[in-house]
Each structure stands twice: as C-alpha cells, then as structure tokens.
C-alpha cells in the first residue's frame, strides 16, 4: 500500500524541504539556548569571553590598569589603579545584564545570556 502513495521521489523532495527548513531555523535555535557568558572589553575591543556556566577553574586576567578574577561562575575586578575604584566596588558579578566598568582605564566586564535577554531592560538610565 505504502509503495503506491509515497514514492522515492516524494521522499527526496520532502527531505530537501526539511533540510532547507533546518538550515533556516537552526541558527535561531542554537542562539536561544541559555549560556551565561562574561565579556571583557579593553578600549571597546573584546579581549576575552568566558563561559561562566562552564569555566569553573579559578583564574585571573590582566587588563589595562587592573586585574579581573573569575571564580565559581563569578567575575569581577580585584585590582585597579584608577582613582575612584568604582569598578572594584561593583564586586563579583554573576547575573545576566550585570556590568562593571573601569572608565579611566577604559576596561569593562559585561555579562550576557542570550536566552534570558528578553527579560532584561534595553537600557539603564543613571
């Protein structure tokens, strides 16, 4: 019975359409999985990106005018030579949307999570 209704050619065409559909939607699907990532910028240029959810080993990163510590899924400035130390006062960050910047040294830490971004504000006024 099957052989009469569905032929090899039909399967081939159906297969092609599925491939096209996957090709279109796969990037969107991949991007929406939640991966908590911290980005370190030096003068507007991305220096390093750290997967906080996976990168669990404790380590420090040297940045211009300071040092950043990554430990237990948290990241923050532990040393800075700027006059106001605002960056260090922000402490250790661990949640999406959190930022810490050392303006005099032009470095900053930003945490993003593609999945949860919809719940975060587009901007913060201060």
């Amino acid at each position: 019975m099957m052989r009469r209704f569905i032929r090899k050619g039909d399967i081939l065409i159906a297969g092609m359409l599925v491939c096209i559909a996957v090709f279109i939607w796969l990037p969107a699907v991949l991007n929406s999985s939640g991966r908590l990532t911290a980005y370190i910028y030096e003068d507007g240029i991305l220096k390093e990106s750290i997967l906080l959810s996976e990168d669990t080993a404790s380590r420090t990163i040297e940045v211009h005018g300071g040092r950043i510590l990554i430990e237990d899924g948290r990241i923050g400035y532990i040393e800075a030579d700027c006059p106001d130390r605002t960056c260090m006062r922000s402490g250790m960050l661990s949640k999406a949307g959190q930022t810490s910047a050392c303006v005099p040294n032009r470095t900053m830490i930003v945490i993003e999570n593609k999945k949860a971004d919809r719940d975060l504000p587009d901007a913060v006024t201060y």
Binding site: D10, D43, G44, G91, T125
Partner: protein
C-alpha cells in the same frame, strides 16, 4: 525496377514491419496494464516526469517558491537582528544597540565618530575644544551648532530662575568632583566662584557665542544628552531600523527592535550598583536622562559630596531628591532638565518638567517615587514605592 517501384516496395516493407512492432507494443502494454496499475518507478508524483514541458515549468515554479520563501524568512529574521557595541567616550561608558541592520560595523564606527567629535568640541578638559576657547577668550565660533545648543539652555536658565546655569563651571572647577583633584574648597574660593556665575551673560548670535569676563562655561550637564540628538540625526539620515544608545546613562531610543517600537528603560537604584534598578519604563522614540547624587562623589571626613553644584550656593545640591529622571523628545532638554529639576527639588522640579511637556520620575531620600501624570513606571524593587501609595 523503376524508382517509383523501389519506393513503393520500401514503403510496403516499412509498413509491414512497423505494424508488427506496433502490435507487439500494444500487446506488451495490455499485459502490463493488467498486472499492475502503473510502472513502479521512484519518481515523485509532484513532478510530471512524463510531460517534459510541464516538468520544466513545475521545477522552475518550485525553485521560485523556495526563493521567495527564503527571502521572506530572511527579511523577517533580519528585523530581529541585534548587534551590541561597548566602548568608552566622553569620559564614560557608551553602549550601542543596533537593530535590524546586517551591515552594523560602519554604523558603530560612525556613531563612535559622532561622539568623539562632539566631545572634541564641547569637552571642558580638552584645551582645544570650542568650550575651552570660550572660557579663555570669552568668545567662540560654534557655527550652526550655536543656536541649537545655547538657545534652549539660555531659556532653561530663565525658566528655572537660575537653578540651571551653564556658567556654574567656576564652582565645579573648584570642587573637581570625579577627578583626582577633588577637594572641598575654602569659603572665600566659593564666594569668588559664585561671583562669576551669571547665565544671563551668555549670548549667541550668528554662530558666535560670548560669555562674561571670568566665567567658566561647563556643558558637562548637557553634553551626553546633546550628543544623543546628533546621533538621532544620523540614524534618521541613514534610515536605520532601530537603535537604543546609552551615553553614560543618557539614553536615545529610535525606531524598533524587530516589529516592536517600544523599548524597556530601567532607572538605576541610587543606592545600588551599576545593574541595580528600581523600575522600568516602556518608551519609544525619545531620550531619557538622569541626574543623581550618587554618580560622582568625593568623601572627606565622613561627608560625601556629589558633583551637581547649586549655582546659588556654590555647594553640591541639597534638597529632598536623590535623583531626577526626565523623558523628552530632545536629548539636550532631557539632560538639562534632569539637572535643573534635581537642583530645584521635588515641587519646583515637577512644575518645571511639566511646563516643558516632559515626563519625569523623581526619587527622594525616603525611597518614595514621584512621577508626572503621563508616566507609567513599573516598580521592580520592593524597597521603593510610589509617594501616594501609603
């Protein structure tokens, strides 16, 4: 045999053989029809393989349909595209969100250039800036920018009864809050600084701006908001799909992200860290700025001094407010009004904002929030509440 005879014989021969072949063919067909409905090939029924012309058009049709589908899907997804850029300019953090533009890098570069150039013209710390020339020689050629920049500020000086005054620079320079030279000036220094503050002496005509002798004009309270207006001009000119730009906390909202022109802007918690907020506003196509006593501070002997100076007293503003947020179509006005309203305090500040047709959110020392009637603020921090909620 004649030619005619040969031809006839040939035709007869062909006929006989042809007919036989035809008969054989028909027989074979008859047999196959009785055993099975159709020959079992793998060919799809969608495509009429037997009819070459129809098959050709059908395949072309499928190709056109799939191309159209891909184009539509691509256009829909392009609108949702978001690219973010982080940078430093004007002495602060700049965050640019550009929506629905595949070629985003030139846009980031252009906006960065606009901010840098504006900073170069208006920065107090840059010796070669137009403002520095104005402060040294008390006359400077701002060209076409003069009217757009100085006229509204002069009007605000008058409307706020001098609470907002760009000549407050002579006092701000003494305190230098936010720099390594921050200190508490002596009283006689403050007296002297106050004597030079008089916003009525600023005049602008045909692009030439003049100030009074001994005056220091400081656009620090309006620069970030003003550059948002310049960025907006650029976004309109380039017909950018959507953008949300933050220049040190002065926000520009433009266009739409995806199909949605409404953006969410959060207000920082005056007592929290960079990402702590008190609530959110749903806004489109406007500018938002905030002035608060927490942004830049200096501490001496346990007393905390903030950076927004009162042009009447020569000391940091001290009243019922900890922050004032103003929403306006104009970035320059949102920034200038936030400073003016913060300086005036709750009652007069609220009246001033409303007189300018701007929306506002004020926060006082008791964690109470005051809003203009047209503002819809969603409070997300339970330490804060609306003033009339008691």
């Amino acid at each position: 045999m004649t030619e005619k005879d040969k031809e006839a014989a040939l035709n007869r021969y062909l006929e006989e053989h042809f007919i036989e072949e035809e008969k054989a063919g028909l027989e074979a067909e008859k047999n196959s029809v009785t055993s099975a409905k159709r020959p079992e090939t793998g060919r799809s029924r969608l495509i009429p393989y037997s009819n070459p012309k129809a098959k050709y058009y059908c395949l072309i049709g499928l190709l056109i349909v799939s191309i159209i589908a891909l184009v539509i899907v691509d256009a829909v997804r392009k609108k949702d595209l978001l690219k973010v850029n982080y940078g430093f300019s004007m002495g602060t953090v700049v965050i640019e969100n550009i929506y629905g533009e595949k070629d985003y890098q030139p846009i980031f570069d252009d906006i960065g250039g606009i901010i840098e150039e504006c900073d170069g013209r208006l920065s107090l710390t840059n010796e070669d800036s137009l403002i520095s020339v104005l402060n040294r020689t008390h006359t400077a050629d701002f060209g076409k920018e003069a009217g757009r920049l100085f006229d509204p500020l002069k009007k605000l000086y008058e409307d706020s009864d001098g609470a907002f005054d760009i000549t407050v620079g002579s006092i701000s320079a003494l305190w230098a809050i936010g720099t390594e030279n921050a200190r508490v000036p002596e009283e006689d220094e403050i007296e002297d600084g106050l004597s030079h503050i008089d916003g009525s002496l600023i005049s602008s005509a045909d692009g030439i701006v003049t100030s009074g002798e001994g005056q220091i004009t400081d656009l620090g309270a309006v620069g970030k908001g003003y550059v948002c207006d310049l960025i907006k001009d650029y976004l309109v000119e380039k017909d950018i799909h959507g953008a949300c730009i933050s220049v040190g906390g002065s926000i520009l909202l433009y266009g739409a992200h995806g199909d949605d022109p409404v953006y969410t802007v959060a207000i920082r918690d005056p007592e929290g860290e960079a990402s702590d907020t008190i609530g959110t506003l749903a806004l489109s196509d406007c500018c938002v700025s905030t002035s608060g006593n927490y942004e830049k501070t200096y501490e001496e002997y346990g007393v905390i001094y903030h950076h927004i100076m009162d042009p009447k007293t020569g000391y940091p503003v001290e009243n019922d407010l900890v922050s004032a947020t103003v929403i306006s179509d104009s970035g320059l006005l949102s920034d200038a009004l936030s400073t003016a309203c913060f300086t005036l305090g709750l009652e007069k500040g609220m009246a001033l904002a409303q007189a300018y047709g701007a929306e506002a959110v004020f926060i006082d020392h008791a964690h109470q929030i005051f809003v203009t009637p047209g503002t819809e603020l969603n409070i997300t921090n339970d330490r804060y509440r609306f003033a009339d909620a008691d």
